[in-house]
Symmetry: C2
Subunit: 230 residues, 2 copies
């Protein structure tokens, strides 16, 4: 709408006018048959808010998103995918000439090892579903990145900080954003969040509970600070 457009133009700065930013968002869906699938509670809100904030900061933004109910932000190139495989394909196609990559998507770690072409009939008794690992997109990016500043997200329910530090190192990230999804008031479907921003060189910056939109703006500024430092 007009009010949003006007507001956006006013807000838009040229701070990142030479920057290309790739953001992934949302869950993925891993099909068991044409009807049933595995997925997760990611709403995509944090990723969409980051795409909007990066765009308003002047960047050229590509948003690769799993299925969500959100409206794609204006002035952002949005690519819709469904499965972890499709996400991998699109990310590897786009990452090379990016300056910043922020991976908020909750990509499935596992998918059913085989997919039935027709709806499975239920039977008496239990069912065993064999799952196999999907490709680890963040790991791939950590191995292949050159100039890119790579930011991961970790949504955990326990030992959040310890797990975050390990993930940052193991995946060769430049920074990681941690949130505790066991809390009902923040995370996933909430419009609010509260995160800890951690960098490779040991900096930890807490961002207090706020709207995902404001959290996103602060994350963008923290990334900008790290870029200028180098």
């Amino acid at each position: 709408n007009i009010v949003e457009l006007l507001e956006m133009d006013t807000n838009r700065t040229s701070q990142w006018k030479d920057k290309k930013v790739l953001i992934t968002a949302g869950p993925t869906r891993e099909a068991l048959d044409p009807v049933r699938f595995f997925t997760n509670y990611s709403s995509g809100k944090m990723g969409y808010a980051l795409a909007q904030a990066a765009m308003e900061n002047g960047a050229e933004v590509v948003l690769i998103t799993g299925p969500t109910t959100l409206t794609p932000p204006q002035n952002v190139t949005t690519i819709e995918v469904s499965s972890a495989d499709e996400m991998f394909e699109q990310v590897t196609k786009h990452y090379e000439n990016m300056d910043i990559i922020i991976k908020t998507a909750a990509v499935a770690d596992y998918r059913p090892a085989s997919r039935n072409n027709h709806k499975m009939k239920k039977q008496q008794g239990p069912l065993t579903v064999e799952m196999e690992r999907t490709r680890d997109i963040l790991h791939y990016l950590g191995q292949h990145k050159k100039k890119q500043f790579l930011v991961g997200f970790a949504a955990e329910t326990q030992d959040v900080k310890e797990y975050g530090r390990k993930k940052l190192e193991k995946k060769n990230l430049d920074a990681i954003v941690l949130n505790d999804v066991s809390r009902k008031d923040i995370g996933f479907d909430s419009d609010q969040n509260e995160v800890l921003f951690m960098t490779r060189d040991g900096k930890e910056q807490a961002i207090e509970q706020n709207s995902k939109r404001n959290i996103a703006k602060q994350i963008i500024q923290l990334i900008d600070y790290e870029l200028r430092k180098d």
Copy 2:
């Protein structure tokens, strides 16, 4: 909005003013851990359209719905559930004094046999997920119904008609509505549908492709015809 309210009042008839109707809609979610779950592509649109059509036909309507992105219809008592277990609990709580029960919900047949309280850590190699059967709500209703006219739905990808007839008999339904979800233009997330209405005594009535709203109105009228016949 006002226009819808006016339209609704004009449309509302007293044909079913003495009828209580229970409708179930949407998918269910079966948790593997606090982040991951099994679900299916049901959008809930057909069930919501039926709730609206039954209400406009003068009935007192209870809609029990799994997670959807839809706005609950006005003048309908809407109860939100998440899992098959919660759906079973609410349906068994409400079915007894109903006149008509229409089960459009795509309730999960299976759920993970155990639910992890914390987010599972991924590991190298495959994962085996043991699934167990959920309680069969439609079967329960078929066994326990007295005066209620019980309508099931079957969403299939092959042998739709043959499967539908079997399901009608096995579940002790009064009627069943069949649709072929292998077709991309109808079913699940589409606003369009095309169905076959089948009764216990062998009647088959095709309803041509149309909006789910209009399909719903026709289904309500077919049910009404069956009720008057008895």
